[in-house]
Assembly symmetry: C2
Homo-oligomer: 553 residues x 2
Amino acid sequence: MNHITLPSDFALTTGPFPGSRKHYLTTTSGLQVPFREVTLDPSAREEPVRLYDTSGPYSDPSARICIEEGLSRPRDAWVLARGDVEAYDGRPVQPQDNGNVGPAHAVPEFPLQRRPLRARDGKAVTQLAYARAGIITPEMEYVAVRENLGLAKARETLSRDGVPFEADIPDEITPEWVRAEVAAGRAIIPANINHGELEPMAIGRNFLVKINANIGNSAVTSGVAEEVEKMVWSIRWGADTVMDLSTGRNIHHIREWIMRNSPVPIGTVPLYQALEKVDGIAENLSWEVYRDTLIEQCEQGVDYFTIHAGLLLSHIPLTANRVTGIVSRGGSIMAKWCLAHHRENFLYTRFPEICEILRAYDVAVSLGDGLRPGSIADANDAAQFAELETLGELTKIAWQHDVQVMIEGPGHVPMHKIKANVALQQKLCGDAPFYTLGPLVTDIAPGYDHITSAIGASMIGWFGTAMLCYVTPKEHLGLPDREDVRQGVVTYKIAAHAADLAKGHPAARLRDDALSRARFSFRWHDQFNLSLDPEKALEFHDETLPKDAHKEA
Amino acid sequence: MNHITLPSDFALTTGPFPGSRKHYLTTTSGLQVPFREVTLDPSAREEPVRLYDTSGPYSDPSARICIEEGLSRPRDAWVLARGDVEAYDGRPVQPQDNGNVGPAHAVPEFPLQRRPLRARDGKAVTQLAYARAGIITPEMEYVAVRENLGLAKARETLSRDGVPFEADIPDEITPEWVRAEVAAGRAIIPANINHGELEPMAIGRNFLVKINANIGNSAVTSGVAEEVEKMVWSIRWGADTVMDLSTGRNIHHIREWIMRNSPVPIGTVPLYQALEKVDGIAENLSWEVYRDTLIEQCEQGVDYFTIHAGLLLSHIPLTANRVTGIVSRGGSIMAKWCLAHHRENFLYTRFPEICEILRAYDVAVSLGDGLRPGSIADANDAAQFAELETLGELTKIAWQHDVQVMIEGPGHVPMHKIKANVALQQKLCGDAPFYTLGPLVTDIAPGYDHITSAIGASMIGWFGTAMLCYVTPKEHLGLPDREDVRQGVVTYKIAAHAADLAKGHPAARLRDDALSRARFSFRWHDQFNLSLDPEKALEFHDETLPKDAHKEA
């Protein structure tokens, strides 16, 4: 890492969690699927507890980590073996891709260059296309083993217990079952063919509830190592996907460093980079700039794009009497463009063309909710639901093009209006996975919006939302630091897990029960090691009580 | 304060919140009811926002605070005016009341002594008795003005919006309506006749959802000033009642200091002090020691007692196969006593006598849930619901004695099992107010249990729980410090407010809307001042963004 400037206090966070070890299961076709295993005190006479593991090789002491080389790329072989892709000379990197940054502020380029892959002869190389064709891909097999975690054990020891609403989680996750869920559009496996470093995962209401963490550079911090560390830190605490919402300079290069070091799917909002390319002037956006940005990011391996294609010119007047107007950044940009040109949103009119591009790389589309409510007062209003109806239309178009799709949702919603969001989304969007931000259940607690939103997130996850986008304590106020990211991710792991329990996921309770047994037997370290944040639990325990007196009390 | 030893870093927290002033409304009969008013930036052209205020005189810059004198006692006149009480020579303080503390460790006695009041000639001096007799007390009038907050304004500007379940919140809270709710047993006004410093408040599903904060001394900290400050600190952030769970030495004296300086109802678990009096040996507890402790605390002015009278000998075997057995401290103590003597719980057999005592001082009973589940695995089990059935019986006995009663609830419950708790409690306990601890919706996040429990608390509050007992981040791990108490209280204010919104409390949304308008207009300081924790919001805002650049962005 000799040509990366590291801040003096910087270190990549690696190594296992206390009491845990990395464990790999080998699938029938030889894939290595990672888990975390917590070993308990011998007095417990219990098997190690196997946990879902998002942290990638960073938590494996035997892995060699060099961010200049990136992670290894086992998936390249899977992609190439399908025989439907070709390497080509990618789009050259242009100065505007990095905000025309001068040499003084430029971050280094990722050292290794690869020719990108794309579909050959207009073929669909998406997991959806394979699933529909009856093909079980290695990605599906990997997901099945990963999600099957604990189900066999749960079958032996626990009876079914939960209120699943529309969810239907089987007693065993088979590769064929994963294929069927993807084929039906009820689940997606975001997995760009150019993201060879990926450990595949699924997003769907019949799988474990997932969470996303947002990262991104800012004017203040934009070092490459710091940005990679933000991603590593997020997945260490349990983020299933990471969205890179960087703006400003060095955006292309930083994304490349993140992609090459990320074992989780990376999502972006391509509109943000497109806007940078037209100097931040929304009116100057064009299909050509946007299209070029899509291809740039497809080639880098981004796994899903948020695209605000559902905000129509005719929806904008519906926001006139709102308390908080349009709060989605993407939504505001597109509303500005529509009003300036008095034309229909080009992301809507060009949506079939967008899908053609996405299917050549298998980038999933996350249909953005540009009109999501920004306050309790605006929840479930005409603007929000008009856009949702359009998202339903676009879902069908994406599916016609074999493109995987999920749907973004609110925002700010009081508890009694949450269920209606899920019901309408499922109805209008044909059961495509729902991906929500919170929702925050009150507006009165800036500084605590990880909590106001976790309440809504737990409930909407229970009702059937497949992925929850985290909110940190700094929401509405500033940019999150490391501690905020940790708070946000752990809080959302709570929400996702509470939802799994309430849905009656057959294996979810195994961890609660193991921890509760440890608590009841005063096996303090087992309790800490089984918790979502063992370091915090240990720190809090030692802070106020004498060390040994109470530990075996 | 010359003979109180103050730690060097100690200061009583006083003064108004930023942007706020204390405002008193005068009732028709001349009572002064406090509110907090937030003044907005003139550019908003909005009226000040009036908020419910639990903080007492401590937030009033014009109030003279001297903890050696205690707060003023306007309620004495109300109580005496009823002509049904008498002053008498109270029970003398005994060495065992303070854990036989020696002079070296004794805290000073509260300087002012008063003869306690009790009911004359066996009269019932409870708010319930008055309500049933058709009498509107000053306490009821006070509560009506206090709760009526914003309802008139809401009627003008907002349409009804919510899912109230069994709640039925009127458009205007009249004293007569408060009386009727108390008479029906659906609400209580905890108000010991010896707590003259009290600012009365109501707990009931048709009122604003309330929260309780627990405080208490420990081996490490037991200074008088610190204990008073814990109470002041809790109510500053919004605790509606405070439970003093002190154990060990100085317990009587510290409670006296707290009572004399508390504007909110104080609750206790008399069993804890009774146990101290028998040197911590549960088997040695007796009705005589317990009865003596009740009278001691009744005379001091404690407003409600948690009494674990519902745990029967026959329930104990139902816990045998639990993952976490009996986790309630009171429950464990009584189970131990029952098993040691193989006799029925004396709190159950003596319950009519207990009620006779309570009605002479108007102490409300909070029927403890000694068998509440301590883990997800044990939620809603036979032990828990058997005890709840007994609590239903005891509710009727309390009511026969004109004693106000509420019912304590769990604990640890996954989301899908929360509603059943409220439904069963309402059915078995004839709509007596429900008072729950959380519940925590998962066991896997020690260090974050304010959050796991706020998720459950929000939902159970929505479903009809009247008061939520806070949980701090240190739950299961250690004793909370000041920052933990703040986190716990603010988190529970979020839960209570989210519940009010979802129930469709007509005025709840006024604060959300005012804050959201401030947010949308970039009136940053209005946003901070309207938030539950203005200091945190300001601190987070300044931490990462340039000071002025973004404030008016």
